[in-house]
Structures are given as structure tokens and as C-alpha cells.
Amino acid sequence: MIQVQDLEPAPAPRPPGNAVPPTQADRDALEHTWRDPQGFVGWFSAINHKTISKRFLLTTFGFFVAGGLIAVAMRLQLMRPANGLIGPDLYNQLFSMHGTTMMFLFAVPVMQAISIYLIPLMVGARSVAFPRMNAYAYWVFLFGGLMLYAAFLLNIGPDAGWFSYVPLAGPEYAPGKRVDFWAQLVTFTELSALLEAIVIITTVFKLRAPGMALNRIPLFVWAMLVTAFMVLFAMPSVMLASTGLIMDRLVGTHFYNPAQNGDALLWQHLFWFFGHPEVYLIFIPGLGFLSAIIPTFARRPIFGYTAMVLSLIATAFLSFGLWVHHMFATNLPEVGKSFFTAASMLIAVPSAVQIFCWIATLWTGRLNLKLPMLFVLAFFFILVLGGLTGVILASVPLDLQVHDTYFVVAHLHYVLLGGAVFPLAGAVYYWYPKFTGRLMNERLGRWNFWLFFIGFNLAFFPMHLLGLKGMTRRVYTYPAEMGWGMLNFTATMGALLIGASVMLFAINLWRSRTRGQPAGPDPWGGGTLEWATASPPSAVNFEAIPVVYGRDPVWETADHPPSRPEAVAGLATTAREQLVTSVLDAQPDHRQQFPQPTPWPFISAGATSALFIGSIFTPWAVVWGAVPVAIALTIWFWPRHDETAVNVALEKSA
């Protein structure tokens, strides 16, 4: 009888495990094991989550600047009535590119990017789950964004708005390939977002340090977990919508053709079913940033942790029940619209709970008004104002007056910049020392803050008044006799101030890399696990994975009995091994080997991009393009002898 052992190759010896506390030899070995490969090919093969995240952050920042420059161009055109700087065709492309860039290429991706860096550090993991898929998602995103901007530079930029309402974006009224490039950009970014969501959910659920039960994870991690679940439900809707649009335009289907039993409103339903949760995808991570920054600068744990978590979940659920408020001006039944009025107003309640809990935290804490806190305080002013104009817009009669006017432009910028970009800027100032080991310049930062705050209000507050005075959206110019000139001029001045502030921000980011004050592991005195790592963290993040006993592990290590276990010993130092724990209570479950760096995610992303871009021009690209994608994915997943040998060795050890 053949024994199983006879069939297998002789097992390799088990790799040594780390000690607690880790020795220098452990540290060196782990650094060597987990670092990125060198060289030209190595650059494309990197899968370390911090590397991918930094690339992702730089890319999204680049798109932010591009979208911002486009906005400045738009504001310069609108500065005076009957201005001849930019004609209607280019202007339509500009506002479409601005919206598309900010919504698809900046707002959601930047949140996913920063969470890819922080979540493993906050939950005590050595990497994200699925590091290669994480890299693939980044490359797909990058190629999609580059495709869009290449199209824009070639006069094929989308010109039907970021929302591409049919029939204007349909085959009859949008000739050429402009809208097709937009629709495929949606496919790129939604694929990337869906994959990142899967990475985030799996990391949060399965790779937490032992003892970090779900009710002990930081609120930022909760926010990203909730966001990731929302992505899973929201993105398919827009992918469906945009695929229907591509098919209508390319092969002549009739999804949106009213003459052949299609419906122009179908597009709006599908798009806004995604579009409304989309803005919460942008807003909820901002809430997460606040929950991370406020406890540190109020020197106390957050007030009302459970209420905060339930509020995040309630906001996520409710946000899927609001989409019709974007369609109040259509001829849908009025009673149905009233339901969405009620839902749109009531979603303010969980957000109000969060705001009150933060104020309670600040009220009962001791304040440290460093730069991140300034941005947090700006959130309270700007977001609350934006939220209140949102309550105004939730009402059907009021919305019927101000829908599609500059009042909505003001509202959306107040909630998106107040709720996401200001907290994001604060988050960058907060975590920059962790990413780079140096603090950003405080003085330059204060200039950045005040220019941004003043510029923002100067740019967008007048737009409330413009909307009330009748100025509609998406107009490339307006007659002088309307009396809108002064307010528009003011808004343009504000926009220029914002531009100056972003420049200062970029300068601060750049200079602080080399000239910033060196920061230790914990420059702000924070309590969550990322502050227990070095600044910047080593390749492996945690040489010894800590055991967690509370919500603010770094604060709580001060007083604990010496008998309780402090960290995990025995994980391999010469193989990429992580501890997988259970979902609810983070009890150790098993050890998992993680993959080596490989260039095949990059190559697969290239093949996928070729398929997507080809299918703009011919439906056969889906068929023929699937071949290189299948080949690349097969090679990617093909098991490697050396990895399998190590895996077997890890499994077989006692």
C-alpha cells in the first residue's frame, strides 16, 4: 500500500519563527522577507500594501490637482458675464471631466488608498488580504484614469456631464466616442473599487491581531468596513447602467430608447441608485478620519463608541434609500417622492449622533489644537452647513426650485469638501509622520488651512445665492443683465485661493520629506495600533503581532498585568506568514502563507485595460481580449514550486 508520505517530496525544514520581544535577527530576516523587490521589473512586481498605497495616494492626488485645474478654468470662464474665454464644447468637456475626475478618480479611490495603508497597521496585520489583487486594482485604476485623460487631450473627453443622462449621452445626441470613453472609465474604476472593497473587508474580518474583537477595532476601520460593504452593493448598479449605455451606443440595444419600450428614466434610477451611496462612500471615510483624530487631540477615548458604530451602519443602510431625491423634478408619482423626502431628512439623524458624540468628546476632553484638529474643526462648520442645505434639498417643493441650480453646486461642495476633503487634509497631516518619519511643517500648514477655509467659503457660499437668483448649472456663460456677475466673480476669487492653498499643501508635502522634523513612532500621542510601529513602518509592520485587550491598545499597554500575553511568537521570519483570526472575537484560527511579489498583476491589468479600451470600438474586443486576460490570470495564479514547498513545510510543522 502506498503511503501518502511516499508521494510527496521530502519536506523542507520549518522556517524559524519570531521571538517575543523580536530579536535583531528576527527584524532583519522579516525585513528581508517582506520588502519590495529591487530593479526595474521589481518596481512592477511590488505588492507590499504600503507601497501600493503610496502609489495610489500619489496618483489620486495627481487626479485631484488635474480636476482642480479644470475647475479653475471653469471659474475663469464664469468670472464675468458673456465671457469668451472658453466655448460651449470645451466647457461641456471641462465640467464633465471635473465631475468625473473628482467623483471616480479622486474621492472614492483616495479613501480606499489611505485605508489600504492604515487598516493593516490599525488591526495588527502584516499585510492586506489578497496583496496581489490589491496591486491589480491599483493598476486597473491607473490605466483607466490615464485612458480618460488621454482621451480628453485628444478631444474625445466626455461632454455629457459626469452623470451622462440619456438621451443626451445616447447614440443619437452624443456622436463620436466621447461618452464611450466615459462609460468605460466607469468600468475601470468600478472594477478597481470592488476589488479594493473585497480586500478591505477580508483584511478587517480575518487578519486582525488576536484579542481585537469587532467591538475593539478603531472607528476608522469600522468606517472603511462599512464603506466597503456599500461599494459591493452600489458599484454593480452603475456598472449595469454604463454597460447598458455602451451596448446601446455600440451594438444598438434599446435599454434607454423610449421609442422601442426602453426608458430614459431607467438610466437615472440605475445611476442614482449608485450615485447616492457614492457620495456616502466619500463621506463615511471622512467620518472615520474624524473619529481617529479627535480622541488623540482630546486626550480621551471617543465618547459613545457603540452609538458611533451603529450610526455608521445606519447611515450606510439608509443611504441606499435616498436615490430618488435626485429625480424629484421628473414626473414620478408625488407620493413616492415624499417617501424619499422623509428618508433623505432622517439620514441626518445618524450623522447628527456622530457629530454630537464628537462634540461630547471634545467637551469632556482636554484640547490639543494642532494642525489636524484645525481641519477637524473646519469640518464642523462646513459639513454641518452642507448637511443643512441637504435637509433643504430633501424637501420636494424646495428641491423643485433649487434643483439643477448653483444652490446644489454649493451644497455638494460643502458636504464633499467639508465632509471628506477637509478631514482628508487633516488625516494627511496626522499620518504623514507615520508614512514618512517626518512631521509636516506646522506654519506652512496653517497658511494652507486658512487659505483653504477662506477660499472655500468665498468660492462656494455665494453659489447658494446664485441658485436662489436663478442661475442654473452647467452653463458656460450668462447674460450681464441677470445680475450674477458679482457673485460669480467672488466665487472665482475663492477658487483661486483654493488653488493657492493646494499649492502650499503640495509644497509642504514635498519639502517635509527631507526637511521635516523627524517624528518617532508616536508624534501625536495616539492610542491606536499604528502608533506602535516605527515611522515609517518596517516592511513587515509588526515583527511580533501584538495581542489586544482594548480599543486604544497603545494607551492601554501602560497598565496591564505582566502575566497576560503581549504579542504572538512563532510566526515565520523567512516566509511570508500571517495569523488569521476569527471574525467576531479575533481568536487565532490558523497560519496562512502569503504570496511573493510578482509582475503578473501589472500584466493582467494591462490585458484587462486592452480589453476594456478595445470594447469601446468593437464588441469583438470582449471575445478576443479575453484571451490575453485569461493567459495572464492563469500565469498569475499558477502555483510555484518554491512557494508550495515553503507552504508544505509550514503546514507540516508541529
Binding site: 457629530i355 454630537f356 439643477d404 450668462y478
Partner: protein
């Protein structure tokens, strides 16, 4: 001290904002103004607006007030200060009561606003429609066609871009689109309604205050969305009737040679391919009906004032004013253009 200053600056912002709003209210009512209602529908909406703004301002002031208090009165600490972990031990009842109370207050205020909104919806739906005027609006890229319906078929007439309605009489607008989604919006009279191809929407309003009001397409509809305006002239029934009667008549016959030549050019060159003039052979509906062009205050959907000069320049090259518009340039000679304009100016 710095904290107080910062708090003070933050407190001043809403006051400044409030001043701006007050200034906006007090400004001369513009003809395309949400806050200058000229009829019951817009007035209902303005009442709701007033209530909502008051409630929202109170909430905003309360939240900011709490923050200002925090910045002003709460102690400071730097990073060396040990974090206060004692909060895990004791229940923070005072904070819980405050947060709970604030949440309850928020819910109650939101419920108030929901009820107010639904009641306003009902009020808007309860406009009395007795003796209503029926107007069918068809939106095109980038102009408005208006057909005044009547039980008597011979009283039906079509005009474009400029509506006259009698004050105090309800109007039922039936809204259709010939191409893409547009939106009919005259803020002084009512909220907007989208015109969606394949669907017929309805808007019911009444104008009580005579005057000239401006409306504009409020759904992005392509290259010349910016210049798709609507003029609504609200006048007394005594002034409306003669206007409507005039619109029902065919175009006046040319009474001199220049106008005759102008009409021949209209019919013989490209104008008649798209435009209609009742009383002639031109009956195409691709562009605005020009039967009573001279009775309108503006041309090109509110883009230009209706003067002979503007008319000539518009006809010579519409793309100069509305690049991307569907009307092509004409290459008539100067004399021909003069004659054509003379004819068109006679179409009152």
C-alpha cells in the same frame, strides 16, 4: 487667547452669511428669482423655505455655539498629557443625557420639516384648476414651442419662446420633449419639471402679479443649454385676450416691395425648410414658428433683444451667438438680408 479669537472668527462667519442672505432677500427682485414669488405655487414654496431656513439656522447656531464653547472654555493639553482612560470605568451620564437630548431634538425638528414639506406638497397639488388655460410645451434643442390648446380647434395657436398668460387664471402646462431631457423652470411662478422624451409631464401654476418673468432650461441638454431661456409675460385678462387673438391670425401680407421680396426669399431659400409662417406655404416645425415674430421681446430663446439689427446679425450667422445651434448661417447678400429682415419685422 488664540482659541477665543478662533472661536470668535468662527462665530462671525454665520453672522456674515446671514447678512448676505438678508441682503439677497432685500435686493431688487430679479425676473428669475426663487425668492420673489408672483403666484401661489412659488409663494407656498417660499413659505416652506422661510420655515426651513429658520430651523436650519437655529440648528447651525446651536452646533457652532457648542463648538465655540468648547474652544473657549475647555482646558488645553499637549501630547505628553496622559489620555484619560477613566471614562471606561464610569458611565458618562451627563454627556449621554446631553447627546440623547440633542438627538431627540434633531429628530423632532426633522419630523417637523417632513410634515411641513408634505403639507406644502399638498398645497401645491390643490391649486384650483377651474377655467384653466391649457398650454402644451414641447422642448427642443434649444428652444421652446408652446401650443395654446382650446376646445375649439380653430382657436389653437402655436408660438415659441415667449408665453403670455393671464393673471389670476390657472395654467396647466403639458410638457414634452422632442429630443433630450430639458427642464421647464420659471422660478417666480413655480418649481421646475423635467421634460423627458417618451413621457408627458404636467405642471400647474397660476400667476397673480403682472410682469415679465424669465425662465430657463434647467437640465443640461447640450451645447446651447445656457441659452435656452423662456419669457413669461403675465398680464391682465383684458390684455391677454387681444394678444391671443392676434396670435391666432395668419401673418400679415407684405405691403411693399421690400417685404414682398423678403417673403420670397424666406420661402425660396433655406428659411422655409425649418420655420413656419401661418398664411404662407411655410409650415415646417423644425424651428420656432415665426408667424408673429415681431410681437416677441427677444429672439433665439431669449438670447438677443428683438431688434432689426440683432435679427440681421442672427440670421447672417447664428453660430456667432449660439455656437452649436441647429440653425445654419445664411449667405444672402446685404440687400437680400435687408429685405428679409424688413419682412420679418412686419410679422407682428
Amino acid at each position: 487667547m488664540k482659541g477665543i479669537l478662533r472661536g470668535a472668527v468662527r462665530a462671525v462667519q454665520p453672522v456674515f452669511a446671514g447678512a448676505l442672505i438678508a441682503a439677497a432677500f432685500g435686493l431688487q427682485a430679479q425676473p428669475q428669482d426663487v425668492l420673489a414669488p408672483a403666484g401661489p405655487q412659488a409663494a407656498h414654496i417660499q413659505s416652506l423655505w422661510n420655515l426651513t431656513v429658520v430651523v436650519c439656522s437655529i440648528v447651525f447656531a446651536a452646533v457652532l455655539g457648542a463648538l465655540v464653547y468648547v474652544l473657549w472654555r475647555r482646558p488645553r493639553a499637549d501630547i505628553s498629557a496622559l489620555p484619560d482612560l477613566s471614562v471606561h470605568m464610569k458611565p458618562e451620564s451627563a454627556a449621554m443625557r446631553s447627546v440623547g437630548g440633542a438627538v431627540v431634538a434633531s429628530v423632532l425638528l426633522l419630523l417637523l420639516l417632513i410634515v411641513a414639506s408634505v403639507l406644502t406638497d399638498r398645497a401645491l397639488a390643490h391649486l384650483s384648476l377651474r377655467d384653466a388655460l391649457h398650454v402644451q410645451i414641447t422642448a427642443n434643442q434649444w428652444w421652446w414651442e408652446a401650443r395654446y390648446d382650446d376646445e375649439q380647434a380653430s382657436n389653437v395657436f402655436t408660438t415659441a419662446n415667449e408665453l403670455h398668460i393671464p393673471a389670476g387664471r390657472p395654467v396647466i402646462f403639458s410638457l414634452r420633449s422632442n429630443d433630450v431631457i430639458h427642464s421647464f423652470w420659471v422660478p417666480n411662478l413655480h418649481g421646475k419639471k423635467d421634460l423627458i422624451p417618451g413621457r408627458t409631464a404636467t405642471l400647474q401654476l397660476q400667476a397673480d402679479r403682472p410682469g415679465v418673468y424669465r425662465g430657463q432650461c434647467a437640465e443640461f441638454c447640450g451645447l446651447q443649454h445656457s441659452f435656452m431661456a423662456l419669457r413669461v409675460v403675465v398680464e391682465s385678462q383684458a390684455q391677454y385676450e387681444p394678444w391671443a387673438q392676434g396670435q391666432r391670425q395668419p401673418a400679415p401680407e407684405p405691403n411693399d416691395e421690400s417685404k414682398q421680396r423678403g417673403r420670397d426669399l424666406f420661402l425660396g431659400t433655406s428659411c422655409a425648410m425649418c420655420h413656419a409662417i401661418q398664411g404662407t406655404d411655410a409650415s415646417a416645425r423644425r424651428g420656432p414658428d415665426l408667424t408673429h415674430l415681431a410681437s416677441r421681446q427677444t429672439i433665439a430663446a431669449g438670447t438677443l433683444h428683438n431688434t432689426p439689427d440683432n435679427l440681421a446679425r442672427w440670421i447672417r450667422n447664428p453660430q456667432q451667438f449660439k455656437p452649436g445651434a441647429n440653425m445654419p448661417a445664411t449667405n444672402l447678400s446685404d440687400d437680400e438680408l435687408k429685405a428679409l429682415v424688413a419682412y420679418l419685422v412686419s410679422l407682428s
